[in-house]
């Protein structure tokens, strides 16, 4: 087997094992409860007939391992189960909400990069000057701001005081593109600001490493100005660490999106999940969490594959 194929196979193996482990963990937490699950879901005043029916429906009469296998087997076939309260398939409930969360995460990530890359470059180039210190200080402050507080502050400033943008709600893109955009600006900006602050220090350290490299020194010596030299020669090298960090930060952005959805009353996956928790709709909770974890793991696997594209050394198996 070539080095490349072996690397890909090993990474895919890790992805599968982690996914399997996560599914066991998720199932165990929500299903291995002490006491009667049907009683928990229906409440204490439920009739014995209703309890028996629900137990049969959930397969509670079967042993736990079998129930787990049935759940996982269904998901592999694209069946995440039926939401108990609404009666709809879990996947069908998630689909329209996925778009909201997906847009939010996408724009949040892009915005964070647009903030962090220039700011991180300044912090690296001017690291011994007041500009670098100012960027670091701002990043520290940004990292300390809880994302929902940032959202509330933006609402009270931009939506309530200035009346520039709507304070909450959502319009699908297909219905009204302008309304869709105006409803997403503040939530995406909230996520971008907080995540951007977290990213700045990673961008900074990635570029600081480049500053010590011989190729940068050579570029400077033959007359390149610092910023162009860093962009022309440093960006591809910094991209390695950046892509890693973006992958690792994805789960943080996703959690941020779940919280931000609540600030702006957006009908996304987070709202679906929290409603399901309040209603004790356990299959819906399991399915949504599993889907979110799958998304995070899949993106991180893609990140690892992207090293092979960014860094030719990884393809030949030579150590870096």
């Amino acid at each position: 087997m070539s080095v490349l194929a072996r690397q890909v196979a090993r990474r895919l193996g890790i992805f599968a094992v982690t996914l399997l482990g996560a599914s066991v963990l998720i199932f165990a937490i929500t299903s291995a409860l002490p006491g009667d699950l049907a009683q928990v879901m229906l409440g204490l005043d439920a009739s014995p007939e209703a309890l028996a029916a629900l137990r049969a429906e959930l397969g509670l009469d079967r042993p736990l391992p079998l129930r787990y296998l049935a759940w996982v087997g269904g998901m592999l076939g694209g069946d995440f189960g039926i939401s108990r309260l609404s009666g709809y398939p879990v996947l069908q409930l998630m689909a329209p909400r996925f778009a909201v969360t997906g847009w939010l995460v996408l724009f949040g990530m892009i915005g964070a990069l647009l903030i962090a890359v220039p700011a991180g470059m300044v912090a690296a180039l001017k690291r011994r000057h007041w500009q670098g210190f100012a960027v670091n200080a701002l990043a520290q402050v940004g990292m300390a701001i809880p994302v929902f507080w940032g959202g509330i502050l933006l609402v009270s400033l931009v939506a309530v005081r200035l009346r520039w943008l709507p304070a909450n709600g959502y319009v699908p893109l297909s219905q009204d593109p302008a309304g869709w955009a105006s409803h997403l600006v503040l939530p995406a900006l909230t996520l971008s600001l907080v995540q951007g602050a977290v990213l700045i220090r990673y961008v900074r350290s990635a570029f600081v490493e480049v500053l010590d490299e011989d190729y940068y020194r050579t570029a400077r010596a033959i007359g390149w100005r610092p910023a162009p030299a860093l962009l022309r020669h440093g960006l591809r090298n910094a991209a390695m660490s950046l892509v890693t960090v973006l992958g690792l930060q994805l789960s943080a952005v996703l959690v941020g999106a779940i919280v931000v959805e609540q600030v702006f009353a957006l009908p996304g996956l987070g709202t679906l999940l929290l409603t399901a928790v309040q209603q004790r709709d356990l299959l819906l909770v399991q399915g949504t969490v599993m889907f979110l974890v799958l998304a995070v793991l899949a993106v991180n696997a893609l990140v690892d594959f992207s090293y092979l594209a960014i860094d030719p050394r990884q393809r030949t198996g030579e150590s870096r």
């Binding site: 890790i14 094992v17 982690t18 996914l19 482990g21 996560a22 963990l25 998720i26 937490i29 929500t30 409860l33 210190f133 520290q140 402050v141 990292m143 300390a144 701001i145 809880p146 994302v147 929902f148 507080w149 509330i152 502050l153 609402v155 009270s156 309530v160 005081r161 304070a167 220090r201 350290s205 600081v208 490493e209 789960s251 943080a252 996703l254 959690v255 779940i258 919280v259 609540q262 600030v263 999940l273 929290l274 399901a276 928790v277 004790r280 356990l282 909770v285 969490v289 979110l292 974890v293 995070v296 793991l297």
Partner: protein, 270 residues
């Protein structure tokens, strides 16, 4: 500059600890009892930051909120370190399949962020301070395991460990005598940074209604309540958010300051 960071961190953390300690014996007003006649008073005297939608003094609530933020931080960070550090040292010392198993397990836990884990626990067991602490603690185990493992690998490659092993010191004794003392500073830095994360996660959970239930005042639930008044009284949302931000800033600065203090070389790269 480095000194400034460390001292600012220490000052902010000390401020939070002191506030929480004072709140145990004294608060300006009752932090829980609803006073219908004094709703939404503006900042002034005797209510320095005014009162909230229940007519309760905001300063008093903020002071009591510091207690819960520290409690959740201490418990969850201790839990994470108590499980993660031994596992990390074990993985680093044993290597081979033990290392592989520990790291894969840590990948599994790492795949589920603290807030999602807390949502799962809340769905199963109902939301409480305990589920929040357990979720944050368990979710941050991998961070400690990785830091401890990386430190252990470094120590294991050193000459003094080679000498100890060749003179017949048992692995357990090596771990206690040589590895742990060298890993401890790294763990300390990690603890401080994780503490900041724990405060943020706890605040987010309280805000979502998945943390400590009312009437216990927490900064997150105060923000949740304050959001209803964003049109009429936006100042309400300022104070609890500021409290969270200052506490998080304190622990982050403390962690960074400690890191620079322990290893000045690290400042240039990280």
């Amino acid at each position: 500059m480095k000194r400034l960071q460390l001292w600012l961190g220490i000052a902010l953390v000390a401020g939070v600890v002191l506030t929480a300690a004072v709140s145990l014996v004294w608060t300006p007003f009752d932090p829980i009892r609803v006073v219908p006649g004094q709703r939404l008073l503006p900042p002034g005297w005797p209510h320095l930051l005014g009162t909230d939608g229940f007519g309760i003094d905001i300063v008093s609530r903020l002071m009591v909120g510091a207690r819960l933020c520290l409690l959740v931080g201490v418990i969850s960070v201790s839990l994470a370190a108590a499980v993660g550090v031994p596992l990390g040292i074990l993985a680093g010392q044993a290597g081979g399949w033990v290392d592989e198993v520990v790291m894969r397990l840590s990948d599994v836990v790492y795949a589920i962020p603290a807030v999602l884990l807390a949502i799962l626990l809340a769905a199963g067991f109902g939301a409480s301070t305990v589920t929040a602490m357990v979720a944050i603690g368990v979710a941050t185990i991998p961070a400690f395991a990785r830091v401890a493992r990386a430190g252990t690998l470094q120590v294991m490659a050193s000459d003094f460990v080679l000498a100890a092993r060749s003179s017949g010191t048992s692995p357990l004794a090596t771990a206690g005598r040589h590895v742990l003392p060298n890993v401890a500073p790294l763990v300390g830095v990690q603890a401080s940074v994780t503490f900041a994360l724990a405060i943020l996660a706890e605040a987010a959970l309280s805000y979502l209604g998945l943390g400590t239930p009312p009437p216990t005042p927490t900064w997150g639930t105060m923000l949740r309540d304050a959001q209803s008044y964003v049109y009429t009284d936006p100042l309400q949302a300022l104070w609890p958010g500021l409290a969270i931000a200052l506490a998080v800033l304190g622990f982050n600065l403390l962690g960074d300051g400690l890191r620079d203090h322990l290893d000045p070389r690290l400042r240039e790269v990280s």
